[in-house]
Symmetry: C2
Subunit: 453 residues, 2 copies
């Protein structure tokens, strides 16, 4: 089989085409998203409430009404280490599926840490450094976000302290090593370094931890004057930073004269999906294209498809403001599926609002179908996907198979938000036949939702 | 610190600039390399002797006198999944070193398996498939080559059977998982599936294996009519396939108007180093540039700097032809340094010949200096290097520091032949202070050399 060099495989952009602005979707929406509330007063939180946690530039971005925000040159200089990222036309996958669909994959795995997370870690580190902050704290589950922030802090000479969910800390030592390699300090969570961690350990000395607990510890540790907290997803400014993904993809698709019929992304907190589709939504709202847009989540943690749209805490201990979002309840602990980055009880408030406005659709997938898609992708296109984006690949493949039946030459765009070289144990489990699906039982969901504040 | 977008970080080539020919350095040398010899007769081996092991196209390439060999379109189509690879100007590393030197890094870690190995795995699989071969066998140490061949076999619907050194099989399960993900069958070596493996196990049931033993098993298994053997380094055709690295780098440096003063690469079997410098040597021989060229090897396995230039076997059991090369003796087992890809007793015969002709220089490095260089690179440039190329980075950094003293603005070119995301355990060991250097004692070397045939 050969295409004889007549078709492009990777659509590249020169560094000179690196986006110079992030896109803020909020002013283009028919209604603004509901504000975060103070848990005590139930009044909207203001900049002063957030100032102990975030630098002022990021707080301003969080509530900005500007459609575009300039990307500082210092941030673009770091982005240039790996951006613009390639857009891949998945010819070999299409051939294997016998589909007339054209599948495009925006590949973020070429970043130094192998995922899309540095797109926001870098500006977050930059704005903190510019404000004279000395140290950042954060949490990490499987370690993708922690390694991105550790890398970013190394670029701007910030100290970095990371609470890593105990289960991952023990089972995934390589991600911890990567954070330490970049100079970060890593603690297993729950830890005895914080009151919230100590309280959990007092109740259960063998607690495996959770993302919600780790967030509580990192937030608690951010109180001193020279320390702030960084969050890797969920917030408006994080989603905005990720729009470099979609801006580049928009330009890359234009280079080959295609517009998408379907945009599909995986969602944990939602930043990778948002970063991909927001710029395309802008074009859609202006009548220049009309893609269907779809979020894919794991059926073990189905915030969009089965969660409640309600005010809830972002963490387990209840330190964060109340966020209106699709949630499974802030002390819900999802089953241990291998897509660690999708195991969060909530969803970005901005995306939750947009889902409520029917701007996009959502579906949930069991993990074995996703791993099967990941293996097909690896055997055809070479790249081993991280478990998270296999959810989007599974949906793209299902759509392409449908096109094979109907004959429709649909253009499908998806984001491959990271490579899976640090997730081989999960593939091993799938290949050995030991992997199970973990559909959330209704009774457990009902019980979890009773904890909503 | 910002460069304000005024300087390029990544020098990219469009897919249309993917090389269309491999460069064969042999006809440009003042004398041809000594031929491989039949171990029984000590006569040069001919195509018929090699035909049970390799397809005819590769045998023809192995002895070719043509300066250029066209790359089949089917191979270029697969190369396009990741090639051309970026050439990175390491501004941040230069800044950290305070050097006037300009450091360029040709980065091969963007390939699906994270190293330069698919550059030859893909054509090897292609030529075997074209000859109607059904199955390939090979050996792998740490797993880089095995995953590359498994990926390549998946592209051309070949079965792939891999003998993986027992010590790595047990300690590095993730590389094994990657090979299986691509559909390969992986055995720990020594195994009871071959006579040579069974013999080793009879003497030592707990044998940790070695690359030499695994080669014996893979070669032994390649005898049936429909099965051939594939080697990931050492041979002329392998080195030639890797010249896509140097051809691209030559064009990329020309785009920014630089010519190298020093080219430095790490050497195990030598294919990555050869692939980088052969095209530059061609330009040097034609008087268009005059770079110094330097190989860097681990001081635990110093084939160039302390080995003997003599005829020796490529494997432990003595199944291969005799190759004239810099060798430490075919049953020498290097200390367990973390750069698994550099732990081979011999060196490519073509490179050994060129070293004997003083075409390049060589030095040996202890592993701690190399890991220190790898960490400095990661903290400045983001990419975590595999342990093997940290040897070349250490030499490039030493040269750049020297330039900081002399004020010379030298242009240094090196190859970063793979990322280290699957080698985090090694970095962990370095960071915890537990890593040791392993300089080879003279008495052990003397003893190893007594086994030369």
């Amino acid at each position: 089989m050969t295409w004889g060099g007549t078709v492009t495989t990777k659509i590249l952009l020169d560094e000179s085409r690196l986006p110079s602005r992030w896109y803020n979707v909020v002013p283009d929406l028919p209604a603004p998203p509901p504000p975060p509330l103070h848990p005590g007063t139930r009044e909207p939180v203001g900049p002063d409430d957030l100032a102990p946690l975030f630098p002022m530039d990021l707080i301003a971005q969080e509530v900005s009404g500007e459609r575009f925000v300039d990307i500082p040159e210092e941030v673009r200089d770091v982005y240039r280490l790996w951006r613009p990222t390639p857009l891949i036309r998945a010819h070999r996958l299409e051939h294997a599926l016998g589909t007339p669909a054209r599948i495009y994959v925006k590949y973020e795995g070429v970043s130094p840490v192998g995922s899309h997370k540095p797109n926001t870690a870098v500006p977050q580190a930059y704005y903190n450094a510019r404000q004279g902050i000395r140290r950042l704290t954060t949490e990490t589950g499987a370690g993708q976000w922690g390694s991105a922030l550790a890398f970013a802090c190394a670029q701007f000479a910030l100290e970095c302290e990371i609470w890593m969910v105990r289960a991952s800390y023990d089972q995934k030592p390589y991600r911890r090593s990567m954070m330490e390699l970049y100079g970060a300090q890593v603690h297993a969570s729950p830890s005895r370094l914080t009151a919230s961690g100590a309280k959990i350990l007092a109740d259960d000395p063998a607690s495996p931890g959770s993302l919600g607990i780790a967030i509580s510890e990192a937030v608690e540790s951010a109180s001193p004057d020279d320390t702030r907290y960084a969050l890797g997803s969920v917030l408006n400014h994080v989603l905005m930073h990720q729009t470099v993904i979609g801006e580049e993809a928009l330009e890359q698709l234009a280079l080959v004269g295609d517009t998408p019929d379907l945009i599909v992304g995986c969602t944990g907190g939602g930043s990778n999906f948002a970063g991909l589709f927001f710029p395309f939504l802008r074009e859609k709202l202006q009548g220049r294209m009309n893609p269907a847009i779809r979020a894919v989540e794991p059926d073990a943690c189905p915030s969009f498809t089965r969660g409640r749209y309600a005010y809830d805490f972002g963490d387990t201990a209840g330190f964060t403001p109340l966020l209106k979002m699709h949630t499974l309840g802030h002390d819900f602990v999802p089953d241990p599926i291998h897509a660690g980055g999708l195991r969060y009880h909530g969803m970005a408030p901005l995306l939750s609002h947009m889902y409520d406005l029917d701007i996009f659709e959502a579906e949930a997938k069991p993990q074995r179908e996703c791993f099967e898609a990941g293996i097909l992708f690896a055997r055809t296109e070479g790249i081993v996907p991280a478990p998270e984006p296999t959810h989007a690949l599974a949906a793209a493949i299902a759509e392409a198979r449908h096109c094979a039946e109907t004959g429709e030459p649909k253009v499908i765009l998806t984001a491959l938000c990271g490579h899976g070289h640090l997730d081989m144990a999960a593939y091993d489990r799938y290949l050995s036949g030991e992997m199970e699906d973990h559909t959330l039982p209704q009774s457990r969901l009902d019980e979890a939702l009773t904890t909503l504040p």
